[in-house]
Point group: C3
Chain length 436, copies 3
Amino acid sequence: MPAYATNMRFKFPILALTLEIITIILYAVFVVYDDGKSSHHDDHSNKTEHDSNPLSLYPMFQDVHVMIFIGFGFLMTFLKRYGFSSVGINLLLAAFGLQWGLLLQNFWHMEDGKIKVGIVNMINADFSTATVLISFGAVLGKTSPVQLLIMTLLEITTFAINEHIVVEILKASDIGASMTIHAFGAYFGLAAARMLYRPALRNGHENDGSVYHSDMFAMIGTVYLWMFWPSFNSAIAEPGFPQLVAITNTYFSLAACALSAYATSSLVEHNGKLDMVHIQNATLAGGVAVGTCANMTIGPFGAMVIGLLAGIISTLGFKFLTPILASSLGIQDTCGVHNLHGMPGILGGLAGIVAAALGKLQGGDPTKQAAGLASSLGFALVGGAITGLIMKLPFWSQPPDQNCFDDSIYWEVPEEEDDNEESLAHGDHSKNKTEP
Amino acid sequence: MPAYATNMRFKFPILALTLEIITIILYAVFVVYDDGKSSHHDDHSNKTEHDSNPLSLYPMFQDVHVMIFIGFGFLMTFLKRYGFSSVGINLLLAAFGLQWGLLLQNFWHMEDGKIKVGIVNMINADFSTATVLISFGAVLGKTSPVQLLIMTLLEITTFAINEHIVVEILKASDIGASMTIHAFGAYFGLAAARMLYRPALRNGHENDGSVYHSDMFAMIGTVYLWMFWPSFNSAIAEPGFPQLVAITNTYFSLAACALSAYATSSLVEHNGKLDMVHIQNATLAGGVAVGTCANMTIGPFGAMVIGLLAGIISTLGFKFLTPILASSLGIQDTCGVHNLHGMPGILGGLAGIVAAALGKLQGGDPTKQAAGLASSLGFALVGGAITGLIMKLPFWSQPPDQNCFDDSIYWEVPEEEDDNEESLAHGDHSKNKTEP
Amino acid sequence: MPAYATNMRFKFPILALTLEIITIILYAVFVVYDDGKSSHHDDHSNKTEHDSNPLSLYPMFQDVHVMIFIGFGFLMTFLKRYGFSSVGINLLLAAFGLQWGLLLQNFWHMEDGKIKVGIVNMINADFSTATVLISFGAVLGKTSPVQLLIMTLLEITTFAINEHIVVEILKASDIGASMTIHAFGAYFGLAAARMLYRPALRNGHENDGSVYHSDMFAMIGTVYLWMFWPSFNSAIAEPGFPQLVAITNTYFSLAACALSAYATSSLVEHNGKLDMVHIQNATLAGGVAVGTCANMTIGPFGAMVIGLLAGIISTLGFKFLTPILASSLGIQDTCGVHNLHGMPGILGGLAGIVAAALGKLQGGDPTKQAAGLASSLGFALVGGAITGLIMKLPFWSQPPDQNCFDDSIYWEVPEEEDDNEESLAHGDHSKNKTEP
């Protein structure tokens, strides 16, 4: 591939501005403020009308917002030379995704031809971007911003269809979205990654790894996700007791998961040491896995068992499964989303089936739950594969193999050293932006 | 200037302690808790009495608090050797500023000679510090903590006068403070920067630039500002629907702004690459520009148009206008506050005039809006110029040209390397604080 | 000590999983959701039944959550080679501690043999972990994760006993926990550190210091603690006016403290420079010191005086007392918790005695307050000494002296340089995890 092919000077701005202008036109036609004057219908849960204060969920919205932009963004900054893209493209994709998601999620139930925007829609819009950010983790470092904007458009569209089917038609319960967001996002991304398989990266890439302080930046993402996950799983739960249950279950699942992730990491690592990859990711699996049954009365004890298992499965996945996926199946999963969102998402779906069978949710039905899981996986795999094929078209400014995992292909990158003396010592000032 | 002139051992502690002790005495005389027993009057908006819970705005206060201390603080850490000052002096100035601001903003409407403190006053006090932190961005790296404390004192005083005139006398609406905070803070800082012009820095300074991980720290600031801006623009809006409108408008303006900032950055940069300076700043211009009319019913579509324009204008400003300001007008604007707060602030003021003319705010009046904008710019330019002249007096421990943008002139700075082994390899241990 | 003795491959996983499984069993037996159907009794304050919304304190809970996991975690990342442990082990200890704390704090007042979990218990559970994280600061870098899990178990147990005595039996008021958390955690940790004294570290250790960007990471912790401290001190205060008073007092105490910490740092440092150690820590002392009397009507002015004193005392402690403690008493206090939590905690306890004597709290009693302080110090010193002796047993995988303050003994640590080219230039790739 010739070097100039990666130049995105016109492709990217034209695509981004076109998408934004189309979106603005659609908003001009369809979107108005929610004046609270009619009963609205929320497409992500079976909750009833919220209390009279239109801002009662605003603090939870902001927690979710932090998870999307700081949590996902910084979690991916563990790569040594890809921090700008991780946090920066995360912002770009989520900023577009929330606008697009809000439109698609609400096309199903407009009132008088209008979508009414309030805090609940904004929470759901943020949720819809999470699918893209999960898939972004699978293809991180091997895709251009142009490709990723296309993925955002297609994935959120697929997500909105599947979510509508799972929640509105199949009537499955998925309050914390283990199935419709986590499993969906992971398998969508893995299917796309399979299509984008790069044989030349089979033996790794020198930039596909962390350095000390990039791991520290990633921990910012991890800890924010860990702290605010109770808000993610409860934000659209029915107010009052069900919402408290969702918070409590998630809090305890994550606490138990942290212990099992640390223990398992030490058990499988050389000399009993802890591995940052496990800590950054597997400690969060409890939040994913308890999602579907977060609002079910499984007991704090039940939530902790789910978290414990999720931490173990996720850590083992990073250690043993990810290398096999890459070498045998051609699935190069940069962030290991299969271990954080894929398997724990399925575990969450299964837990939901069991909990529904045990009568832990009023009106829950294990068959509907199973159908919801199957639908999510099906849409993810098919949608991800098709999207991957489209992303594979050769004119989206994708990076050549040797420039993968490197910000400098799409970003102006300053000199690389911490201090000036250092780069002086190397006699190379050519990348210093402050030079005339 | 002799080297010892920068020693602030007595000047700084004496100034800081004197200011604090005077403040404490004034608080002892004037400030009491708000027991909610009388109607209070809020000096920053036309909102009516809040609901009965005195803490209903506390979550929004904390969002604003994060913007002030994390958002502004880390946004300025992009400089390679100036992170301690950026986040540390930001904390110092805001900690003093909020105490001073609370006094001055409420001197206008005391009850029985007392200022009653509640959450709304604390939000407004935090707001008043934002003006100083914006101006700090213009003079960043070229001023001493002594000078900056003086600027804080004078700028907040000027701000309180202008805000009183704009909101209480001219009756202009400026809910998100595009005019009274953003444009004011920017032009105050630029006027001061003009007075403090340093010809020797005309061709740049080796420390006036970023390194890879200083840009990452700055992104923490950017993302927090981006996420919590809806709280900034809505915190003191009338509860209920107007507050929801302010949140929604800001959310969408920022989303659209992100897309246009990314697109424009790629369009104007070499090889279509993205520039971190643009991403760190111009993505936020939508929050500034939608401020004045955040609580007006301009529609999500209207907010997005404002955000789209703001992102473009701000990015173009960084690329083309900042170099001209420095070379032709002698305005050295370290953080480019003209592009993030100045022009978008004026855009916000103009949007407010148009929105008022279109009847988007009950009781809005375009003439009053225009007068509010003019007043803000006038006070900013005159106040900033006078403050700059005072800051120019030669005994405030200001840094010599060659030590600009360098923490080590005012801070004990540890060795510069990531690891000890490294600096051992370079044979230089002299800066290691742990050495005996 | 032979090198293999630090291998924690079996000790750590077995201990962590055993503790977690025992905890889960206890939860299965004792812990249920709080369905709000009976009057509950809060063990940390004298507050009455909260309002009907079970989530009204959730935003404050999340603020406290951020302080525990981001605040404490990142505050300790100032060490150049110990960031993984600081933020990672902080997460581990707090995740276990909150589960354990919730059990122990509520054993005293179960209803029908059950502990009912709601937001207030979760806040208190988070609080209980703060004692451990404070003590962690004293022994940071010189202990293994195995030792620290044992400390967590024993310290939270001791804390729960003392807290019950102070609040329920002695009826002392300690809303912001200056005595029961801060002074307790500090002196517990210092007593343990005394038992774990390492003579070989008497002259310092090359890794016991910061580098530029580790100080920046630490500032993330500092600023979050500073911002959210009003939530810490008010979270379990009686709703309404008392909670507002607690917020206001803490806000002003911290603002005044910031000024005095900066001023004192410049006054005592070489050439009037600021010292990051002081800024990272002493700026927070105002939050500690105002804790006990946060909900007392001491006036904003009174809070500011407390903050002013705390900032001065804390800074002077770092400068003059810490070296003496280490050299004369054999107390090696890595993070200086004596200066941030110990002395300011005692100051807070004393301020509470004075405020109670002055009638600033309805029903307050200086004698009870003094008894509460004495009890907290007594339990801390005795409990900490015994815990330290247990931690000293030679089979807990503790680090040898030369490997103190070094993540690589318990963590897989990536190559140390910012960029790959760098370490290539140095011809050393041995630590690069991405190598085959």
